[in-house]
Symmetry: C2
Subunit: 222 residues, 2 copies
DNA sequence: CAGCATCCGCTTTGATACTG
DNA sequence: CAGTATCAAAGCGGATGCTG
């Protein structure tokens, strides 16, 4: 008798912890390798294509990404939707439940901040990853004054730090009229923004800063 | 000649994401299977023995637990210490860095709460796991009044809900003089404490409540 | 090219047995 | 009590191939 091979096609048996505990149940869903990094990409980029997600995840195997996306869709964390008329492609968008993972990603990111300082060695880096620490630590020191924008160029994609009614938001893209532009290697750029390194010191290591010097003070972390 | 066994000892190659990102670095350390559940046990129990941790993690393989504990020690999340004179054993205790994971565990637990309501089927349950949702959601509605204690018996170990200067803390153990004692199956007990089920309704399903009825109101969640 | 699926070799995990 | 030893099964990484 022939043994059944491809029995259950594309549904994994899902190896869960089997514990009646919110943490365990959550980890059943978001605890697999790469899963939270996929969520990170969708949180930072907003709705985007398969390929965009993959570009933000150097090292992931394509089949694994496809599988994770299927799982995330099945668990109601993201959904696929057709892009508006101009381009004909499928967009991946976080659901409300997926957006709610921002608090989780922030908590882990904040905890992991202390592990980051050391060195890069041959770590991959994508400039939009800067957005997370910036959103986490920067504050608007002068909420009453007119908003400012700082453009940061540190890798493939430029990002913009904007003050908007008291909060600091970081997004991928360019500023129409930036008050300052900061350019250089990521660890240094980050240290400058975090106030751990003066612009003067950083400039001797390849960082460039053009524009209003007060812009940096404006968003300095507490 | 005796062959050396302990050659490669305890250093794995460690398969990290290789990304210069706080989230990825954190997941390199706490992203492996079982790791955060081990941290949960240490957070809920405080310093305890290997066996205590294992009892709180039904299904874990002993070698895996031993390996994870080694990794957590190496990454500075816990440390081993000799127990005080009476008992001669090794205690596992979270370091400050490990305690800082409470915010991470809480964030994930809060997110995972919505996944929990459904059914138990054949999920394992340990009564001390109740402590997390209780710490997350209960509040002291009358901080000025004398503190109260509610004992909950829902499984192997009793736990105590205590109000202490405005906060609600849950711990493993018994209350010397509880204002109320709640007994019954976990999902029901939880629903009662969360205010989603009245004591009267719960009693028809096997829940017992003995003591001051106002104790329950006192710690009701917002 | 975007968006996968398939195959293969290696690593991690799970279950059990055994030891100081 | 606190692990180590062993081995099968599942998961993962990388390469490659297929389809619209």
């Amino acid at each position: 008798m022939v043994t059944q091979k491809r029995v259950r096609a594309n549904t994994r048996p899902r190896r869960g912890y089997g514990q009646y505990c919110a943490l365990a149940k959550a980890l059943d869903v978001i605890g697999d390798r790469w899963t939270l990094l996929i969520v990170r990409e969708l949180l930072l980029r907003g709705p985007c294509r398969y390929t965009d997600v993959r570009n933000g995840l150097p090292g992931i195997a394509t089949n694994l990404l496809a599988e994770r996306l299927r799982e995330l869709e099945a668990t109601g964390i993201l959904r696929r939707e057709d892009a508006p008329p101009p381009v004909a492609t499928t967009l991946l968008r976080l659901t409300a439940r997926g957006e709610a993972l921002r608090s989780v990603v922030h908590a882990i990111g904040r905890w992991g901040g202390s592990l980051l300082g050391e060195q890069i060695k041959d770590d991959a880096f994508c400039s939009h990853w800067l957005a997370m620490p910036l959103d986490l630590y920067l504050t608007d020191r002068a909420p009453k004054r007119p908003p400012i924008a700082i453009e940061v160029r540190s890798g493939d994609e430029p990002i913009v730090i904007e003050t908007a009614n008291g909060a600091v938001r970081t997004r991928i893209g360019r500023a129409a009229n930036p008050d300052a532009v900061l350019t250089g290697p990521a660890p240094l750029v980050l240290r400058v923004l975090m106030g751990k390194l003066t612009v003067g010191e950083a400039k001797t290591h390849g960082v460039r800063y053009v524009g209003d010097p007060r812009a940096l003070q404006r968003v300095r972390p507490v």
